[in-house]
Symmetry: D2
Subunit: 140 residues, 4 copies
């Protein structure tokens, strides 16, 4: 994962309920933070989820998540979550994510989604309008 | 709320992710514990949720929750959550809940559900088979 | 609970992870929303938690929560959470809370905290500077 | 990651609050399930966390998590979470995790912890008694 610029950055504040008794954010909650940024990513490219997906015969399912904890986030801190589509496969989309606090990157990770039939759950190629929207956004 | 016996008691262990930096369970998570017990209640009376509700034209929606925190639960503690149907109205069911640790009641509360049409969300009388199942269970 | 104005209003967006398979926010998560607003309340009155409390010999513990669910919040909705100190006892603070969506109040509730010694957990009168800060803020 | 046997297996039931509006467990909650199994792992090897760590000058911090979602877990399902120490470095412990439902592996993953000074957060070699306890347990 690189230090390339992220066009989508979403700010959030660490909630009390997200900290644990080590005084830091529980490791699983970073995936919630990633998810918040991915929600904003879909909106930013003009394909809000799930509205832009319903009835298209395509849904997205997480297939793999990775989180690297470089430094802990603490209660009440303001952090920024960056999200960019790092790789587009035929049927999959890999998002690269990062979290910064005061300019220091404290977390990085990846969430890979597969396009699939919402009922049969078999893989389906990324619909062309979705691919175009992602590529247009990332080109800037 | 009384100290009447609870026929349904569900044991659970406090998870790390449920504690906060005061070292105790975050106040909102007790509603998750209550919900775990209510799930077991439906199963115990032979009306597992949602299976026993789907297609009946009736769903349940929480209308009010109350939690009293008598003493805090801490990481890794084993607690028991009791649940009983304390009041049956025409369209509503009030569950009384309590949490014990080593025989000491540390939490008590109430969750009230309304029977409603799942689409229109208007109140619907509790279906007779459901009412019968609850009353039979509580009679013991 | 009244419809009195709330000086503290905090906006947030419903996260995917907060919805359940009824498609609405799980009933326990409203207490997280309340908590987010209470955090902002402490900041707004100049007593950020926990910084303004550490070393003062006083901490706050939730003693009772109530949530009334008037209408469900759904994924990706923007809501506003209002918080005001509704009653100050000798040792307790009762916050009234409400959640609006597009001007419609969809949730209301109350969270009562007790001032207590952080170790012994015995009740302690609300420190005068805290009481003054709350009263000054609520007077507007 | 292999299909080697896991000596530690912890059963849990999917909670309502853990499902999302796709009707499946939210991707971040699998890290909570992993954490529940890791808690039981420490207990199983005779080093309950945090009791066996407090005052030793060593704490554990998650440095990397990976989750692969092979099939979704759904509300009310009983699953089994397996945990084993797959690699012991000088200062790090890599847990391999897997989740089964009715004998089908639906999730697999890894959580890597670093031993560190709880204050300075600098890496510290795994204490010998801890290393011995892990190796003894894994030998069976």
């Amino acid at each position: 994962m690189t230090d390339m610029p992220f066009r989508l950055r979403e700010r959030l504040r660490v909630r009390w309920a997200e900290t644990d008794l080590q005084g830091i954010v529980f490791n699983g909650h970073y995936l919630t933070y990633f998810d918040v940024a991915i929600t904003e990513y879909w909106r930013a490219i003009g394909k809000p989820y799930p509205a832009a997906f319903v009835g298209t015969g395509v849904d997205l399912f997480a297939v793999k998540s990775t989180v690297e904890y470089l430094a802990p986030a603490r209660y009440d801190e303001l952090v920024e979550v960056g999200c960019r589509a790092a790789r587009l496969g035929r049927t999959s989309i890999a998002f690269e994510l990062a979290i910064w606090r005061d300019g220091e990157r404290i977390t990085r990770g990846e969430v890979v989604y597969a396009c699939a039939d919402p009922v049969a759950r078999c893989a389906i190629p990324i619909p062309l309008p979705l691919r175009d929207a992602i590529e247009a956004f990332e080109r800037g």
